[in-house]
């Protein structure tokens, strides 16, 4: 197959799990790309023009054509660069992978955000609710090295949100949302993830990330008062 001259640009944000998951996918497939850090408090004309509907990152620009919404972008990357497939081949397995990806983004993420953003009783409730959701993920990991099975797949890439965002907030929030006694499989899975070069390369550096989470937590608390 002839090599095409590609221009791949990612409008993203260094601390965003949605932006980082796109970087994981591109890196896994060996796709060279230009990363453009966006200031979401002062959105660039390029961002507004590329994603006029949601005005959010990440946006992937492939030869100038924009694709928005991280799950849509991941599938686009998988459809376009066929090496190291992210989604399984079988239609049923693909449906299951898509289901769990949505579960992480629509259920786990939304609930976990309240752990960071609330205090007191409301936070306790959010912790409980998050744990209930994660118990389902825990079950999925029994007997598997990754959510995708033997190797890293679509759901693992999406669920890095849990491994490297939710679990990192524990240190800042001072609550063990995902204690190892309750979630041994998840902890094992995180270790497996950290053994994967692409993951190590693409997740935000821990110290800076913790500082960032701390700062965001303060600003969210101020907003909810």
């Amino acid at each position: 197959m002839a090599e095409r001259s590609e221009e791949v640009k990612l409008l993203g944000m260094w601390a965003s799990p949605f932006s980082r998951r796109v970087e994981i996918a591109l890196t896994l497939k060996g796709v060279p790309y230009e990363f453009s850090e966006q200031d979401i408090t002062n959105k660039s004309p390029l961002l507004l023009q590329s994603n006029p509907v949601h005005k959010m990152i990440p946006v992937l620009l492939h030869n100038g054509k924009p694709i928005s919404e991280s799950l849509v972008i991941l599938e686009y990357i998988d459809d376009t660069w066929k090496n190291n497939p992210i989604l399984p081949q079988d239609p049923y397995d693909r449906a299951i992978a898509r289901f769990w990806a949505r579960f992480v983004d629509e259920q786990v993420y939304v609930t976990a955000m309240k752990v960071v953003g609330k205090v007191g009783v409301e936070r306790d409730a959010a912790v409980e609710a998050t744990r209930d959701l994660l118990k389902l993920m825990e079950k999925e990991l029994v007997g598997k090295d990754f959510l995708g099975g033997e190797s890293l797949g679509f759901v693992d890439i999406v669920a890095t949100l849990v491994a490297f965002w939710l679990m990192r907030t524990e240190e800042v929030v001072g609550v063990k949302v995902v204690p190892v006694e309750m979630f041994p499989e998840i902890h094992r899975w995180v270790k497996n993830l950290l053994d994967v070069d692409v993951i190590k390369k693409c997740i935000p550096p821990e110290d800076e990330h913790l500082d960032y989470i701390r700062a965001r937590m303060e600003s969210l608390k101020l907003k909810s008062v």
């Binding site: 376009t80 239609p91 049923y92 449906a95 389902l136």
Partner: protein, 219 residues
């Protein structure tokens, strides 16, 4: 070997309608099983333990949940006939983007229109019209969202059409006045057998909403 296809559904659900339309488009024989959402059946709870929601598509005993995931699954599993998604990756991504938009931005406001009152309802109406206008702009002068062929985005949106009458009555507005091209598109879709078979009459939905409000305990 014959396929066994079961659909656990609820007749007024615009999400269930997506799956019905997709199955009909591909001429797949299926066993439609009406669910009582106020008294959930063992099969529903077993097949969708995570969300306990309809629609659930059960293919040879294996459940697929979430309506747009079901539409894609149907397209991938029964590839003959008309494809719901384009083969070009960029066009596929655009279609999925708009399907996601409908789920995230169009559905929410409809609940406020029929379920809320006063300022909340007004805000819902305003938001809904804004979102419909975005969709209409995406449709442009095309026959369907996918161009000449009826596809994924059309399937994602068409179920809302039978709810338009009740939404207009509750919100006191006219969708046709705001989005004439979208109404023209919907009428084109209604001419398809798959759609006509899968959507209930508008007046059934209109009669149903006050009953629904009573059931869920809102005035």
């Amino acid at each position: 070997m014959a396929d066994e296809v079961i659909l656990l559904d609820y007749w007024p659900s615009m999400f269930g309608m997506r799956t019905r339309v997709a199955l009909e488009e591909k001429n797949i024989k299926f066993d439609y099983r009406e669910q009582d959402l106020f008294n959930k059946s063992p099969i529903l709870l077993e097949m969708n333990p995570v969300h306990k929601k309809i629609p659930v598509l059960i293919h040879n005993g294996k459940p697929v949940c979430e309506s747009l995931i079901q539409v894609e699954y149907i397209d991938e599993t029964w590839p003959g006939g008309n494809s719901f998604l384009p083969s070009d990756p960029y066009q596929r991504a655009q279609a999925k983007f708009w399907g996601d938009f409908i789920d995230k931005k169009v559905y929410g406001p409809t609940r406020l229109i029929w379920g809320a009152k006063g300022e909340e309802q007004e805000a819902g109406t305003k938001e809904f019209i804004e979102m419909l206008k975005m969709l209409e702009s995406e449709l442009g002068d095309k026959t369907y969202f996918g161009g000449e062929t009826f596809g994924y985005v059309d399937i994602a949106m068409i179920g809302f059409y039978c709810w338009f009458d009740v939404l207009e009555k509750c919100g006191n507005f006219s969708i046709e006045a705001e989005c004439p091209k979208l109404i023209a598109w919907a009428k084109r879709c209604m001419k398809r057998e798959s759609v006509a078979k899968s959507l209930p009459d508008s007046d059934k939905i209109t009669k149903f909403v006050p009953e629904l409000k009573k059931k869920i305990g809102i005035e």
